[in-house]
């Protein structure tokens, strides 16, 4: 399967999520996310960005609507088909969500759990090719010498690099990132975005990223989606995003300089 032959567009149709009945967080989202480059989702806190991204890999179950990806409706999956869909979707988390007591290598190999039998995983028996790739990925994110160190001994930036390596280890067809830089300092944030841009470019993996930093988003993304109150209010290129749009997305204007 080469990169060109697969259509990695995600089409969301009428997506609704209610945590409490009658109080929708997502109010009928209709959205096509193109299958290449980085797409940023911006919007104020509590507007449903994380919910939207978690509906795609079904860490959260949507209340209604469709999420179409490669001819499958992800919203309808359960059991084995759901797990098979999940292993094709990588995810990077705001607070890294590394398993603290596992080593860096074990955390990265977690990305292969969808492919390795439970018995072999318990015994830490992974295919040699996977282990080789894990080392290559760790080298690529600059953590080659940390493989045997436990994850709870790493700094925030290092943890997020491991988080990205773990997601890429799945050889995903799409990468979700839920505010991957929000817990990091500005310099490390840029480095993390650079790594993700490199992954999106070199490996042809489309990335969908929730992000609060508009400048960072404009710098790295090819497409931007603005959300407010559970709805999409902007969908365009970074160049098209004006201050007027930002007022609509975030409300008010005092914060704009």
């Amino acid at each position: 399967m080469s990169v060109e032959t697969i259509n990695r567009t995600i089409s969301i149709r009428g997506l609704v999520k209610e945590y409490k009945k009658g109080v929708p967080v997502l109010k009928g989202i209709d959205l096509d996310i193109q299958g290449e480059g980085i797409t940023a989702i911006i919007g104020p806190s509590g507007t449903g960005k994380s919910t939207l991204i978690r509906c795609i890999n079904r860490l959260i179950d949507p209340t209604a609507g469709q999420i179409l990806f490669q001819g499958q409706d992800l919203a309808q999956l359960s059991g084995v088909p759901l797990r098979e869909a999940r292993r094709r979707i990588g995810m990077v988390f705001q607070e890294y969500n590394l398993v603290e007591r596992l080593t860096v290598m074990e955390n990265v190999l977690t990305g292969r759990l969808g492919y390795v039998s439970a018995f072999n995983a318990w015994l830490r028996r992974f295919p040699a090719a996977d282990i080789e790739e894990a080392f290559v990925l760790l080298d690529a994110v600059g953590l080659g010498s940390f493989a045997y160190q436990r994850a709870d001994g790493l700094s925030g930036g290092q943890r997020q690099r491991v988080g990205i390596a773990r997601a890429i280890m799945q050889r995903p067809e799409i990468l979700l990132a839920d505010e991957p830089t929000s817990s990091l300092d500005p310099k490390t944030s840029v480095e993390i975005m650079e790594i993700m841009a490199a992954m999106a470019g070199k490996r042809g993996i489309p990335v969908i990223v929730n992000i609060h930093n508009v400048a960072l988003a404009k710098r790295f993304c090819q497409r931007m989606i603005g959300m407010n109150g559970g709805q999409v209010v902007f969908n365009g290129t970074p160049a098209e995003l004006t201050d007027e749009h930002l007022k609509t997305i975030y409300g008010g204007e005092d914060w704009l300089e």
């Binding site: 603290e100 596992l102 759990l113 969808g114 018995f119």
Partner: protein, 293 residues
Amino acid sequence: MKNAPNTAPRLAFQPNWQARIGWIALALYVLWAMRSLDLTWTRFTIGIDNAAKFFDRLFPPNFAADNFEMIVTGLTESIQIAVIATVIGIALSLPIGVMAARNLMPAWVVWPARTLIAICRSFHEVVIAIIFVKAVGFGAVAGIGALVVGSIGFISKLFAEAIEEISPKQVEAVRASGAGFFGVLAYGVLPQVMSRFLGFASYQFDANLRHSTMIGIVGAGGIGGSLFAAFQRFDYDFVAAILLSIIALIVVAEIISGYVRALFSDNLALLDYFRQRDHAQSGREKSANIGAT
């Protein structure tokens, strides 16, 4: 009324009448219970008198050759009972504990598991041992059965509670990779609870050693049988010898399980453990030096 100046000094803490009533009620109950059990000073002095005679007869402990042989045989059996019961008990506790964790399992799995744990926890080991002795006859088999049941009640419950306190973030990440249930268990759940589980297990081994010296009293094997027989014969210097041996055994076990806990919870190799102890000691010396200068 509203404008009247409030002259009373303001309290930093509100009086907690519920707590005060609770303490008073507890004090009254203790007094009443002491009266109804005839716990008086006179009774206490009579007791002291008797105790002095008893302790006089305990010493010196009698470690004569045939006594010593009985102690060794009894303790060996007790240790065997404790080790076997702990291994089987822990092996059964793992799946039962996982099944009883509300954040991993649906209610129809959790409630049967919790009921089983509650039943295992209902009785003291000695009571369970009596039941086993009646059911399968005298000897070590009954003792092992009793301690297995006790271990399941204790470890499964603590293990389930430890699982319920894990960080859901780490589990979420493993689930997102498409891992199945056992993959999530092995990579998202167990790494978070393993060190605590080993702590419970080594604690339970300590407890089982103590229990195993006791269940012999009801005929379930081990040193307890000899102890009880010696009491009945008023063979108090032999009793003292047995008690001292049990103390020695428990102390040794405590030291060993302390090593085990430290090794697993800090993820150290055996050599590192001793190296770290050396560091700790030299650190102490250093701070002492600073104190001197």
